[in-house]
């Protein structure tokens, strides 16, 4: 036990580990907040699609040698989110097909660019870390931490301010529209925040695993809780705890950060699922 404490103490004496920990928890909190809405609105796939777009944008940013890749990734992902939401309402290309198209396209082009214009000698390691976030969390600079903190604060503030409206639009868009609430504007808001969260979370778990961070805490909480507020709070708590446990375990056992956090989320989901089955609240 003292071994473990010593090891953790040693690690936490490095500022970059502390940064990673703080950013990790913030990202986990943000992603879980929106997760409930996305799952309930059947928008989970948009999160997945956007994460691939973010990967493509990151590849382009790496090739063009931008000093701060965020300046390119954020706008591209936000614009894609808006486009995806639009096509979801358009009848010509159905929502899921559009998402599949954009996300696979971005993935392919991103990978090709990284191969054509390698920014370092070890391409496969680069690609791997962008997809699975294996090391990037530990290479955060102070500026990145600030950016993450500010974005997280914005996401949380927006979520709290618009909490009731987000609830209404999630539960019943038709009713909301009929009583004069601008559902389309709130859908847009949800899409933009989702895009921001995905860009943030890419640092932590990599672009392939982001969906897990968004949907698992929400699905776990929905097993047990009966009110929207309960579900939101529970999923936030699950997400933060899983992120903390995941980061600590990954330090102790030298496992990849992203997949350790996601594994923790999966374990919690299984526990909640079994509990709900036993308490008779199991629902598909």
């Amino acid at each position: 036990m003292t071994d473990i404490m010593d090891k953790l103490q040693l690690y936490f004496s490095y500022p970059f580990v502390r940064y990673a920990f703080i950013v990790g928890l913030l990202i986990a909190l943000c992603s879980s907040l929106l997760g409930v809405t996305l799952v309930l609105k059947r928008f989970s796939f948009i999160g997945d699609g956007l994460s691939h777009v973010a990967f493509g944008a990151m590849a382009v940013a790496a090739v063009t040698g931008l000093t701060n890749k965020m300046y390119l990734i954020i706008p591209v992902t936000v614009i894609s989110a808006i486009l995806l939401l639009r096509t979801g309402q358009n009848t010509k290309i159905k929502g899921d097909a559009a998402v599949a198209m954009i996300s696979v396209g971005a993935l392919a082009i991103g990978y090709m660019l990284m191969n054509l214009f390698p920014s370092s000698s070890n391409i496969s390691a680069d690609v791997c870390s962008t997809l699975f976030g294996s090391t990037s969390i530990l290479t955060l600079k102070k500026a990145d931490v600030w950016l993450c903190t500010i974005m997280a604060a914005i996401v949380i503030a927006v979520f709290i301010i618009f909490y009731n409206k987000i609830f209404a639009v999630t539960f019943d868009e038709n009713f909301s529209k009929a009583t004069g609430i601008k559902s389309d504007a709130y859908n847009l808001l949800i899409a933009v925040i989702t895009a921001l969260i995905i860009v943030l979370a890419m640092n932590l778990v990599g672009s392939l695993l982001i969906s897990a961070l968004i949907i698992f805490p929400a699905l776990s909480a929905m097993r047990l809780f009966k009110s929207f507020r309960g579900v939101i709070i529970c999923s936030a708590v699950i997400s933060v705890i899983c992120a903390a446990v995941g980061i600590l375990l990954s330090i102790l056992f030298s496992t990849p950060v992203g997949s350790t956090i996601v594994t923790a989320d999966i374990v919690v989901f299984l526990i909640f699922w079994i509990t709900s089955a036993f308490t008779g609240r199991a629902k598909a």
Partner: protein
């Protein structure tokens, strides 16, 4: 009685085609209007038009002085998303007050009180803490009705409200709607259910590709359209 909605020679539809046309009717305060029609006769398009969500292609739909389209309490058909939605009854009923909050992010005391008193009125107070997805179909409709009443006390627009309910729950819901109508709330109900329309409604609007009939229930029962429709319905049930 004060007129609330006037529809003059309106045609409804999309860019690529008219769904229904020649609509001429008025809704006055305290009416119980039942809109009948086959599937695809433009009932849902008419609902959108009445709610002010979809402008008419031609003609005129007017919400009369002091009455706005957003003051219609709408009871939509349930979506699959809702049937499995983790929200408490209280949260859903309160969300009916949302149009009153404007830019204020949270509900104030009056709005919370309104939600409580509406739940009491509809007899769902003891369900307040329950989860929406665990309720029976009839209870769910009462919750949505309470939400609509939080939004407005002037007019309710009900879209096939008894679909999927067992006969007992259907009667309960119809009686509840009738009692709300007696309190002075205008009711517009879109329905397949001819028997209920003839029992409860004061006015009937029957639409197909164009307007087939508008008038009081008694006029409808004596009209050609009404009689042939009623006969066909009776034959179906035999």
């Amino acid at each position: 009685m004060a007129k609330q909605i006037i529809c003059e020679n309106a045609a409804l539809g999309y860019e690529d085609g008219i769904v229904t046309e020649g609509l001429n009717f008025t809704v006055s305060s305290g009416d119980y209007l039942c809109i009948l029609g086959e599937n695809g006769s433009g009932k849902s398009t008419l609902i959108k038009a009445l709610l002010g969500l979809k402008p008419q292609v031609s003609g005129k739909i007017e919400w009369c002085e002091g009455f706005k389209a957003t003051e219609i309490g709408y009871l939509p058909q349930q979506t699959p998303v809702q049937r499995d939605f983790p929200a408490s009854v209280r949260e859903i009923v309160q969300s009916g007050c949302l149009s009153k909050t404007g830019f204020r992010p949270f509900y104030n005391k009056e709005e919370k009180k309104l939600a409580e008193s509406t739940m009491k009125q509809l007899g769902i107070t003891e369900l307040a803490g329950r989860c929406y997805r665990d309720l029976s179909g009839g209870q769910q409709q009462r919750v949505l009705l309470a939400r609509a009443l939080c939004a407005t006390r002037k007019m309710l627009l009900l879209d096939e409200p008894v679909t999927g309910l067992d006969p007992r729950a259907q009667t309960d819901l119809y009686d509840l709607i009738a009692s709300l109508n007696k309190e002075g709330i205008t009711i517009i109900m879109v329905s397949h259910d001819l028997a209920a329309a003839l029992k409860y409604a004061s006015h009937i609007l029957h639409i197909g590709k164009k307007q087939l009939f508008f008038g009081t229930k008694e006029e409808y029962m004596n009209s050609k359209t009404g009689r042939s429709f009623i006969d066909a319905e009776v034959k179906d049930n035999d």
